[in-house]
């Protein structure tokens, strides 16, 4: 009986967790969340609450497909997506930082605007409703890394993804170096932690914040590019599906650290991947599976905050006993 149960458990674990295809799926599905998390990270570290990531992802995804369709070239699609991120990020920064629009109001308006605008443009430009799927849209090809790909297990696990997946990993490293090893990163952190003090030190606070919002636009648009060209090769209305906000949650779990964002994004990649498996196995009605990432976000936020509270309380108690 006991050995039977453990054998069953093992096979379930193998089916849902420990096989290379699953781990690949996890890394793929984590990619847009990593990029959305970086979007939230770079602005929150500059002391800005940017909730427009969702809208920026939508625009990135739309323009990537439009660019790829127009130029018959995936890389130019990628470029178009990034440019849209710079443009939307720039406008967002202009309105909320320079023209003093309330940044949350601006965020709510941009997200709703992006939703309407992409639906509108899909109908106006492509004369279709719902999604843009056309053989002339060129997707980004998977890239095999020469020597790495021949190593067993590690090869398939780390090689054979499309460009944005690698880019997300690289950007985690680059952001870490930027934050902690460059003067600009130091300035950005100073602005986020104490803008008045930073200003006294001669740091140009508005400029740093403007640049941070532009950068967040690029990160978010890359998440969109991955969804439409790296993962699917098509555009679907509302395909961001809340990832802009999940990115904000991931940034919270990661405590604003790039590596933390990466690790907590893997958790969401895992949830997404499990969802696909469950869907294939028809274990749950599809609606409950689609709910998983959002329920997971709420649960994770609750557990994370409770644990942090407990840790703070424990630290206080420890300090008290030290005194006595």
């Amino acid at each position: 009986m006991d050995s039977n149960t453990s054998a069953q458990l093992l096979s379930i674990l193998q089916r849902y967790v420990f096989n290379v295809a699953n781990l690949q799926g996890m890394l793929r599905m984590a990619t847009p969340v990593i990029l959305a998390g970086l979007c939230a990270l770079i602005t929150s570290r500059a002391g800005i609450l940017n909730i427009a990531g969702e809208g920026m992802i939508l625009f990135g995804a739309w323009f990537a497909v439009a660019g790829s369709y127009l130029f018959r070239n995936a890389w130019l699609g990628l470029l178009a997506g990034i440019l849209s991120g710079l443009l939307v990020g720039g406008l967002f920064a202009l309105f909320s930082l320079k023209l003093r629009a309330h940044i949350i109001i601006m965020g709510i308006a941009i997200n709703t605007f992006a939703n309407a605008a992409t639906i509108f443009m899909t109908r106006a430009v492509f004369k279709v409703a719902g999604n843009i799927a056309d053989p002339r849209i060129v997707g980004l090809d998977p890239i095999s890394i020469p020597i790495l790909k021949d190593i067993p297990i590690l090869g398939p696990l780390l090689s054979g993804y499309t460009f944005p997946v690698y880019l997300a990993w690289i950007l985690i490293v680059v952001t870490t170096i930027f934050l902690y090893r460059t003067p600009w990163g130091l300035h950005l952190r100073a602005v986020g932690e104490n803008p008045q003090a930073a200003e006294t030190l001669g740091i140009n606070v508005p400029r740093i914040r403007f640049a941070a919002v532009m950068a967040s636009g690029v990160f978010a648009s890359l998440a969109g590019v991955y969804l439409s060209l790296g993962h699917l090769k098509m555009y679907t209305d509302q395909m961001a599906a809340g990832r802009g906000f999940i990115g904000m949650a991931v940034n919270t779990f990661g405590a604003g650290e790039p590596i933390g964002v990466f690790l907590s994004s893997l958790l969401f990649g895992f949830v997404d991947m499990i969802g696909y498996r469950l869907q294939a196995d028809r274990l749950l009605p599809p609606y409950f599976i689609s709910m998983l990432p959002y329920v997971a976000t709420l649960l994770a936020l609750t557990v994370y905050t409770l644990r942090r509270r407990q840790a703070a309380k424990a630290a206080l108690q420890a300090a008290d006993t030290d005194k006595e």
Partner: protein, 365 residues
């Protein structure tokens, strides 16, 4: 709320210019469509106000927006960015539907019960993000968005499985006649509101507006809601029970959204079709922003938005211009309106309105 005449004037000039700018951008879009903007705007206007039928369709589209607009306004005023109005609307709608078809009662009890259920369901749905913010300090923006997605899928599940009427269509059984809100067509035997599904729910919407207006103007509760929204630490110092005020405000906000969902079902649709009403909540958010988080302003904005939506549907049908055009234009109006720095020159026209300190980063408070 600026009390001075100058402040009000400045606000109207700001609003007028924002609308004008949005209309200009809209004209560019139409030119790109190779259409004459004047012609298109005339068509938009006629489809919204040009006939009795158009007016009633406008009224029908505006009714749910008044509810979601009021819900958003109330939350924004208490300093909570409840962007979960969308989900609360769905949950209220599906629970109202359920009571509408599953319960057998005389009309005098049935209809109020269905409406009350919608209200309570919406409030319960708002309860989770509220308590997460209150007890754990988790930002309501992320959590209310998450509950929107969960609500959407939950309702789709209910409509597709346990509440499904027949295997062929994804919808619930029809609501019993004792729970419906009468449509104007049914009252006037076709003389009134022909071709529309406008219904007496508009009076419930206006009653909500009146009650909220009274609460904000005349009661201690309204004062507390306003104070909590303006300054959290200050109102605590002033002796307001923050927890109660905050939770109460958010629950009533969710309740109004849920009531709106129930009214929309019992008045217009009379059964729940899967995905019948995407976007009412988000449009309500925008209406509250357009109306400057003010009871009357938001009501006017909701009526405006609703009629423009009716106009845009006519435009879509007659000229093939996607009706999302109107959401784009309203979005632009809000961008322009919110961009205070753009209107600095208005302040220099000696009208002496005190400009309020704006949070620019959203984190300093």
């Amino acid at each position: 709320m600026p009390k001075s005449f100058g402040g009000i004037l400045r606000r109207f000039v700001n609003l007028g210019l924002s609308i004008l700018l949005a209309i200009l951008v809209g004209s560019l879009i139409m030119l790109w469509y190779k259409r004459n903007p004047v012609e298109i705007y005339r068509l938009l206007f006629m489809s919204a106000f040009g006939s009795q039928r158009a007016l009633f369709i406008s009224l029908q589209r505006a009714t749910p927006l008044i509810f979601t607009g009021m819900a958003s306004m109330l939350a924004f005023r208490t300093g909570v960015f409840n962007v979960g109005v969308e989900g609360q609307f769905f949950i209220g709608a599906i629970m109202g539907t359920f009571v509408g078809y599953a319960v057998k009662l005389p009309m005098i009890l049935h209809l109020p019960l269905a409406l009350l259920t919608g209200f309570v369901a919406g409030a319960i749905w708002a309860y989770f993000p509220t308590i997460m913010r209150q007890k754990l300090g988790i930002s309501e923006i992320v959590t209310t968005i998450m509950t929107n997605y969960i609500a959407t899928y939950l309702v789709s599940y209910l409509v597709n499985y346990p509440m499904r009427e027949s295997p062929t269509t994804a919808q619930t059984p029809p609501v019993k006649a004792t729970a419906t809100l009468t449509q104007f067509v049914e009252i006037g035997k076709g003389a009134l509101g022909k071709g529309s599904q406008a219904h007496v729910g508009i009076f419930i919407a206006l009653a909500v507006v009146a009650i909220l207006y009274f609460i904000f103007k005349r009661t201690k509760l309204g004062y507390e809601w306003r104070m909590v929204g303006l300054s959290f630490p200050f109102s605590q110092f002033g002796g307001i029970n923050l927890d109660r005020t905050f939770i109460g405000g958010m629950l009533v906000s969710g309740g109004i959204a849920g009531l709106g969902g129930a009214v929309e079902i019992l008045g217009v649709w009379r059964k729940y079709k899967d995905l019948f009403a995407i976007g009412f909540g988000f449009r309500g958010n925008l209406a509250a922003l357009l109306g400057r988080q003010d009871v009357i302003g938001t009501t006017v904005a909701a009526l405006f938005y609703g009629s423009m939506e009716a106009g845009a549907m006519g435009l879509d049908w007659a000229a093939g211009i996607p009706r999302q055009l109107i959401d784009i234009l309203v979005g632009l109006m809000i961008f322009f309106m919110a961009a205070e720095g753009m209107w600095d020159f208005l302040g220099r026209i000696k009208i002496g309105a005190a400009s309020t300190e704006r949070r620019t980063t959203g984190q300093e408070s």
